[in-house]
Structures are given as structure tokens and as C-alpha cells.
């Protein structure tokens, strides 16, 4: 099982590394940008899954980090510096602080409260971004310069941007793996399985959830920073509850509580919305919503759960360690 998982990792990484070589020959260059979007979403959903999949606390307001990350980067790139790193740092730290405050106010409550408090806080940003002239109100912030990542190298080329997002995703994935396997990750799983018992063992479960919520917000901030750089644009749509909904559904499709699941879910949701927006632009939200309901009703543990079930149907049960 372990070697198949390793082979799968190597194959996926090779394919992703070689993919841009086929652009303009095998498929249109548009798909390179689409894949970059998948990577950005994957970073965000990975952060969401560290929270939701490992502690069971579902945030229906993750768009607040995506949007805030994008706006912070957009403002800094436009008005302060064209370098990417300070903007990224500001987005990540800013979203971490935001997550600390929102987490402080909403984690004391029950699970269901947490869902709608995160929603209510995200709505605050949606309304604010739509009405605050300083950040362009409903028109958004346009004309953001392409950020510089190394002397002489900016992100205007879509292949460069593709690899850059892939590197950030790989780093985010590696960090998430470290978190999950650390003693801290064990506490998180303990919270999901039985919060009370974990408390009785002497762990500060509220503190742990608050910390993972901050980490999760930081992932969202990084994704937002990349999104603003990609589009050279930040708009209130980034804060729309549909974005928070897409994050949950992608995590559901991929399977929560695994690290590969979110990446897979990001791929499915981006490709699906792209397909739907060219064929059925008018009805995409309806289809995403119906898919959402379908996932909840029929495959509560997502694609990874399906794969696991399929595998355990073939191999001896119990041996399927998940990545």
C-alpha cells in the first residue's frame, strides 16, 4: 500500500511538472492558467481541510480569507511595492490575525454556531468590500501590476505563474503533512473523534482549534494573494458566500480529513465550473448547489472515501493507511 502511494505521488508530480510542455501543442495554453487556478484553490482548500477535516469544525466563511488575502496583496502591489514577497507576507499575516479574532469570537460556541458565525463574519467583508470606495467598492481594484518574485522575473508569463503556484502548493502540502503528523495534529484528530475525551486528557482543545483556524486562515490568505496576482484584479466577488460554498463542496468531493482529497476536490470544482460556465453559464450555481446536496446525501466521505472503499473491497481491510 505504501509503495503504491509513493508511486502515485511521483507520477502525479511528474505529470504536473511536464504538463506545460504540452501547451499549445496538445492543448491550448488556456489550460495552463486553469491548472494554476486549481493549485490556488488547492492551497485554500488544504487550509480549510486542516480545520474542517481534522477538527470537524466547518467554516462557511472561508471566502473572508481568500478575499482579504487578495485585497491586501492588491493594495500593496498597486500602492507600495511591485515585489511579491512582502505582499504575500502581509496577506498571510493579516489573514492569520483576522482568523485569530474571528476564531476567538466564534470557537467557544457549538459546531452549528461556528458555521453561521463564520458566515456572518464573511458577510461583513462582502458588504464592506462592496461599499468601501477606498478599495474600489463594487467595481473592485483593477490595474494591479504583475508581481516580481526574483530580480528580473515577474509573474506575467502564464507558465512561470503555473510553476510558481505549483511550488507554493507543494510547500503548503508539505507543511500540512508536517502539521498533521506532529503531536499537534494528533490533538486535532482527537478533537474530531471526541472533544470531551481529549479535554479530559489534559489538552486545551479550544486553544488547538483556535490555532488551526489561524493556520487555515493563513492558507486562505496565501491563496488570495496568488489569485489577485493572477487576475491583476480583486473584487467583492471573492468574498461571495458561493466561494465559501465551493470550498466546502470541493473538500466534500475530495474527502475531508485527507491531504490529497482537497487537491483532488480543487481540481474537480475548477474543471467543473469551467466546463459549466462555457456550456451552462446561467445555471452553474444551481448545478454546484445540487452537486453539493447530492454529495451530502450520498457520499458523505467524498471521492477519497469512494476510492478507499473500492480499495478495501479489493485488498484486505484495515491496511489502507491514507496519505
Amino acid at each position: 500500500m505504501r509503495s503504491t502511494s509513493l508511486t502515485a505521488h511521483v507520477v502525479v508530480i511528474l505529470v504536473l511538472l511536464l504538463l506545460p510542455l504540452g501547451a499549445d501543442h496538445l492543448f491550448s495554453g488556456f489550460y495552463i492558467s486553469l491548472m494554476a487556478r486549481v493549485f490556488i484553490y488547492a492551497i485554500m482548500i488544504l487550509g480549510f481541510d486542516l480545520l474542517a477535516g481534522y477538527t470537524g469544525m466547518i467554516s462557511y466563511g472561508h471566502a473572508m480569507f481568500f478575499g482579504t488575502g487578495a485585497y491586501v496583496t492588491a493594495m500593496l502591489l498597486k500602492h507600495v511595492t511591485a515585489w511579491f514577497w512582502p505582499s504575500l507576507l502581509a496577506s498571510v499575516v493579516g489573514c492569520g490575525l483576522l482568523a485569530y479574532v474571528v476564531g476567538y469570537l466564534s470557537i467557544r460556541t457549538r459546531e452549528v454556531y461556528f458555521v453561521f458565525l463564520t458566515f456572518a463574519f464573511a458577510q461583513f467583508f462582502f458588504v464592506a468590500a462592496n461599499s468601501w470606495e477606498f478599495v474600489g467598492a463594487a467595481n473592485g481594484l483593477a490595474g494591479i501590476p504583475k508581481p516580481i518574485v526574483l530580480p528580473g522575473l515577474d509573474l506575467s508569463n502564464s507558465t512561470v505563474f503555473y510553476y510558481f503556484c505549483l511550488i507554493v502548493l507543494a510547500a503548503a502540502y508539505g507543511l500540512a503533512r508536517l502539521f498533521v503528523r506532529s503531536p499537534f495534529g494528533r490533538i486535532l484528530v482527537g478533537i474530531r473523534e471526541n472533544e470531551e475525551r481529549t479535554q479530559f486528557l489534559g489538552y486545551d482543545t479550544h486553544g488547538a482549534i483556535r490555532r488551526v483556524f489561524v493556520i487555515s486562515g493563513m492558507y486562505g490568505g496565501a491563496a488570495g494573494a496568488l489569485m489577485a496576482s493572477m487576475n491583476s484584479f480583486a473584487s467583492p466577488v471573492l468574498y461571495h458566500p458561493a466561494v465559501s460554498g465551493e470550498i466546502i463542496i470541493a473538500a466534500l468531493i475530495g474527502g475531508m480529513g485527507t491531504l490529497v482529497g482537497p487537491v483532488l476536490g480543487a481540481g474537480v470544482i475548477i474543471l467543473l465550473t469551467d466546463l459549466l460556465s462555457s456550456w451552462l453559464a446561467e445555471a452553474w450555481m444551481m448545478i454546484v448547489g445540487a452537486l453539493f446536496a447530492f454529495c451530502v446525501l450520498f457520499t458523505p466521505d467524498g471521492l477519497m472515501g469512494l476510492i478507499r472503499r473500492f480499495r478495501s473491497g479489493r485488498a484486505a481491510p484495515g491496511g489502507s493507511g491514507h496519505a
Binding site: V115, A242, M286, G289, F294
Partner: protein
């Protein structure tokens, strides 16, 4: 700030608050009895508003819109409850909540497909147009009607919950649904009824708000957010909490518009944060 402006704001605040009671009490009771926090509640409210608009436009009868739209939405509520939410009872409540998130997206998109992105207003019959003179304050006639009508419905709702046999079942259900079931009461019927009434009330509020302000495809989010903030302020799962939270929110909105025009939209979040810091269980929370 002179007295008559103050009184006009007060009156307007109570009017908005009374309309909000219709939305938030359904949301709160559905949660209290069934444990389902319905994120599609704003969508039902919006669908009710649009249905009311179309009924009014086709038939010209305001009262038909006020009666038929809520009944249709109550039926939609029954269908939603029986076919999508019911299979999930007994699972983690988050599943039901996520399901309603999906349904809210379906409803929002359906409205956009059927009625398009434009803003509409429900046309009022002549006797509701114009102003009344209330001891020197010129108050729109329809707003006065909204205040009286919503108060009447709220009192009926309170009577239903506090004094009738059904109300006893509902109050017992909020307390402990398993015991209610053990007494031989069919809790599935109770669930369906509560959900349908909540949906119908939301639609009624939708028609009222559509006639008082305007209807647009984003109103579901606004109304849902308001209703959620109401239940945070008042306390989730109680009718009294919904009433108090609604009035607080209505007054904040009315006075905010009058005295801090730029920040009016955000005062409600300020109130929500204060409640979360000092009384996380809500103003009337039982825990």
C-alpha cells in the same frame, strides 16, 4: 436631533423589527425543534417575494399575493423537508446544514433564471399608498400596516406556541425531542409542520419586504444574514429570543441610517460582536 425624527426612527425600527420576527422565528424554531439550521431560509424568503411579485402582476390582487405566495412556499418547504432533510436525521447536524447550503444555491440560481437580474418592486394597492399623520409624524401608510400586520402574526404565533396543544409539542420538542417521541407523538409530522410554517412565514416576510423596499436576486443573502445575526443576538432556538433580537436589529438599522448614515450597515455586526463577547448564549439564551 429633534423629537419627531427620533420617533419616526423608532417607529421605523419597530416596523423592520416586526417583519424580521417573521423570518427569524421560523429559522430559530426549526433549529430549536429539529436541530436543523436552515441556510436556505433566506432563499425561501426571496422566492416568496418573487412569487408575490408575479402573483400581484398577474392578478392585480395584493391579498392574493400575501396569501398564495406563503402557501406555495410552505408546500416547497414540505417537499424540501421530506425529500432532502429527512434522510439525514440522526446524522451529524452539520450534514443537514451543508445540505441546506446546497439548496440555498439552487434556490438563488432558480430565481435568477426565472426572473432575471433586475430589481423589482411589488406594487401596492391604492389604499396603502401615501402617508398617515400620527400625532405630527408623517408615516408611510404601508409601513404602518406592516407594523400592525406583523405584530398580529407574531402574537398569533406566540399564542400558538404558548397556549395550544401543538405549541406544547413544539416547546417539549425544543427541550427533548426523544421524550416527545416516546409519548407516541409522530415527530416526523411535527418536523414537517414546523418546517412548513417557518418557510411560509419567511415567504410572507419576503412579500412584505418586497413591497416595502425592493426585491433583487441578492436579497436572500441580506435577509439570511440579518436573521442569523438576530438569532445570535437573541439566542438560538427560542421564540422570545427571535422577537428581542429582531427588534434590536430593526432599531439599530433605523437609528443607524438616521444618525450614522455611512456606517449603518455595519452597526448590526458591532452588536453581534458585543453579544458574542459578553453573552455568547444570546440575550435570552437558556443555557
Amino acid at each position: 436631533m429633534d423629537l419627531s425624527t427620533f420617533l419616526a426612527s423608532l417607529l421605523y425600527g419597530v416596523t423592520i423589527g416586526s417583519a424580521l420576527i417573521l423570518i427569524s422565528s421560523g429559522l430559530s424554531l426549526t433549529f430549536g425543534v429539529m436541530g436543523v439550521l436552515n441556510f436556505a431560509h433566506g432563499g425561501l424568503c426571496m422566492l416568496g417575494a418573487y412569487l408575490g411579485y408575479s402573483l400581484m402582476a398577474w392578478t392585480g390582487s395584493f391579498w392574493l399575493a400575501m396569501i398564495a405566495a406563503p402557501l406555495i412556499i410552505a408546500v416547497v418547504g414540505v417537499l424540501m423537508e421530506s425529500f432532502t432533510i429527512r434522510p439525514l436525521y440522526g446524522l451529524n447536524p452539520l450534514y443537514q446544514l451543508l445540505l441546506t447550503v446546497g439548496l440555498s444555491m439552487v434556490l438563488a440560481n432558480a430565481v435568477l433564471l426565472i426572473w432575471g437580474p433586475d430589481q423589482f418592486s411589488i406594487e401596492l394597492p391604492e389604499y396603502f399608498q401615501g402617508y398617515v399623520n400620527l400625532a405630527g409624524i408623517y408615516y408611510p401608510r404601508f409601513r404602518l400596516f406592516v407594523l400592525l400586520f406583523s405584530t398580529l402574526i407574531s402574537v398569533l404565533l406566540w399564542y400558538g406556541i404558548a397556549k395550544t396543544r401543538w405549541g406544547i409539542v413544539i416547546r417539549a420538542g425544543i427541550h427533548d425531542i426523544e421524550t416527545v417521541s416516546a409519548f407516541g407523538i409522530n415527530i416526523h409530522r411535527v418536523f414537517t409542520a414546523v418546517f412548513a410554517v417557518g418557510a411560509g412565514l419567511a415567504a410572507l416576510a419576503g412579500v412584505i419586504i418586497g413591497a416595502m423596499r425592493a426585491i433583487n436576486p441578492e436579497m436572500d443573502l441580506e435577509l439570511l444574514t440579518s436573521a442569523l445575526i438576530v438569532v445570535v443576538i437573541g439566542g438560538l432556538g427560542s421564540f422570545k429570543g427571535a422577537v428581542i433580537g429582531s427588534l434590536v436589529l430593526g432599531l439599530l438599522e433605523a437609528f443607524g441610517v438616521q444618525y450614522f448614515p455611512g456606517l449603518a450597515k455595519f452597526t448590526v455586526w458591532g452588536a453581534m460582536i458585543l453579544v458574542l463577547i459578553f453573552r455568547p448564549e444570546g440575550l435570552v439564551g437558556a443555557e
